[in-house]
Assembly symmetry: D3
Homo-oligomer: 158 residues x 6
């Protein structure tokens, strides 16, 4: 199996996208942070008022998605047309699931932007809650769906 990110001498390269045609693309990624009951309830209570923790996480996710090509060495710089986030609370498991959606028109996809947004957003929740619970775990960071580009539509089967 040939690795696209290595050239013919096995040197890292930023893949050649110059022959691809720009198409409209979308990607959605998600991830989860699981915490103690006490930490979870603190966020839920705070959210009932102003929701600063989760909003800070969303803002960090949006800013993080824009910084992807600075963070992931072989990623192309991309001009995103849209970034939005959603957060689902799962009371039973004391966890939050963060979703990041991106849209763009380009010759390479934006899966990495969606995944990076999710990662930075979840780390931001961790940062703001770590004084209460340092055993939190971030998990299930994954691509939910993508659209556009040569490989076309993809949707994760749970």
């Amino acid at each position: 199996m040939r690795l696209t990110h290595l050239d013919d001498k096995n040197r890292p390269q930023m893949v050649d996208a110059s022959r691809k045609t720009p198409t409209e693309r979308r990607a959605t990624a998600s991830g989860r942070i699981t915490m103690s009951r006490e930490a979870f309830d603190t966020i839920i209570n705070e959210r009932a008022q102003k929701g600063n923790v989760l909003q800070t996480a969303i803002i960090a996710a949006i800013c993080g998605a824009k910084k992807t090509s600075e963070l992931i060495p072989m990623c192309h710089t991309l001009i995103l047309d849209h970034i939005s986030c959603d957060i689902k609370e799962e009371e039973k498991s004391c966890s939050f699931r963060l979703f990041t959606n991106v849209k763009l028109s380009a010759n390479t996809g934006a899966e990495m932007e969606a995944l990076t947004g999710v990662s930075i957003g979840l780390l931001t929740i961790y940062d703001m809650i770590k004084a209460i619970d340092k055993t939190m775990v971030i998990s299930d960071i994954r691509l939910e769906s993508k659209e556009g580009g040569k490989s076309g539509y993809y949707e994760r089967k749970t």
Copy 2:
């Protein structure tokens, strides 16, 4: 439970660390990326030669750890004295575990730097392998241990 990252009007703030005394600190975080057998074997084979995928991930983790305060809105800028990484291959589960260790002398800890390094490193593996497998999952991002500071030594059980 009072959130340290919100001020008395519930506004986000960068926590006041000015009264804390600088101490020597360490933090280790880890995380995992799980993939298809085919993707796993491709990395293993490539590693047997030059190991560019895993080395690129380590470099990205080190650079990512240095960028933490730009990514996580309420994080203090920190001067890290040392960053190193390790990668463990787990053949049974077709996964790689990435560890990031940081050392510094400061009045706030560097858990976030270790966790951010791990996250960026794992996203880099995802990026370089996604042409082979887009169902990969990043999980188990967590603090393994920390040392120094008011709360002292912490080591994760299991």
Copy 3:
């Protein structure tokens, strides 16, 4: 009144520009820094020679305009085709007015780039002169004109 930067759950979002058509756009913003007679004269004298303070401000404004999407959380990344600056001295009021002009072809406007350039340029003057006068005030940061896009031409009346 619906806020475009909040989604249907009132969460911050980067506005969807994917359905807009790219057009040629321009924006000009301006701002002012007012200072003591002594500080003003120092810059004027220095400008008669090399003009380093005002030139440093112009360079900072240009670099600042390019960094807008990193600074303003919901701003799209934009590829600017042109950035230029102008400075007007107003002797009576001991103030300098900095203008930043940007041009681009995109599906969103660049008002924020022009305004950010102006702000960073004025802060740079403040920085270089603050040892002489720390009472300086930055004011009148505003959009002077814009062109292109759905809302078309706009020019500020005084």
Copy 4:
């Protein structure tokens, strides 16, 4: 009057702070954004619910303060111990005043960090409201007070 930011050949320089002793320092800056009644009321109504506009501005101000040395060419990189913000609503003038407070222990002051935080925060409000009112004006960006360092305590009169 000698400009500290120019060397003996009138070349820009980052001032030599190596002989100064680190002391505890504080700085507070403020600035104002004035808008139409409609725009003002939109923010006030939104704030009654979640307050995303003003919170996004605060987060941007905090992140902007941390980026000061990247934006202002001759600024030293500084390690801030604390950043917090406050916002005052002035209904009569349809304006918001943003305050940024910073603390640090260093051999140079952090006035620029406080002023940059204010500027970026106000630009963020402008960005989120510009679809409603593009005549908004940012003004009165100024140092309110500082403490520590050779020049000691300073508080703005009026």
Copy 5:
């Protein structure tokens, strides 16, 4: 001779590229680092195993090329379609030559991106070897060839 980067008042400007037509462009730059026999042999020996020094340099060159418009004040932000590197060992002179190739479709060229990539890559080799030899010299940083744009094809003679 008129300088394109200065406007009609001799103020620095980012050149107006808005009237240029986007074309496919390429640029290749190269540079050299010369060192002691001992330092050279250390890299060669290490390369025989894993090659971390040269690979880290290549990754830094690719990341550096992407950061060009942040580093060179009057450079346009560009979306690169492809970046690759090559390294030639010259045993006689104890030197390494680093090549950086970029491709893009834009209305301005990417010579600066190729040259910046080379510079950052060579500085990275310097950094990793400086404990062995601090007399190393970086030289011969130059444009090898370019293609596309108004001035068309250029290839360096010797």
Copy 6:
């Protein structure tokens, strides 16, 4: 010969500086750009008036030095106390030599900061003059002297 930037498994690492004592340090680096007579004269003439090209280069060098740890993967983040530059014109060879001096108090040296400043400054001259001469060559980037730290004083012999 053991490479300090590789750990015991030959993985890249940021060298452990935690056991070193902070000392006052200085470093000076220099580099040269050589060009056609026409390009050289253009800069000299322009310098007689305002000197924007060389001043822009100095500002870029100072900003570049501050960004070193973002560019060179294994470099520690450092707080520089002072950065200054000098430029020498060599008419016979149609070249400019750029010097960058840095001072700091830290447990690692700042050679890389001085060398990176020089490189970015020279690239900035290249960028502003490339419309006149694209055969320019950047060379002789090297450490001139350093002071402080375990290895003590070093001065280059020619």
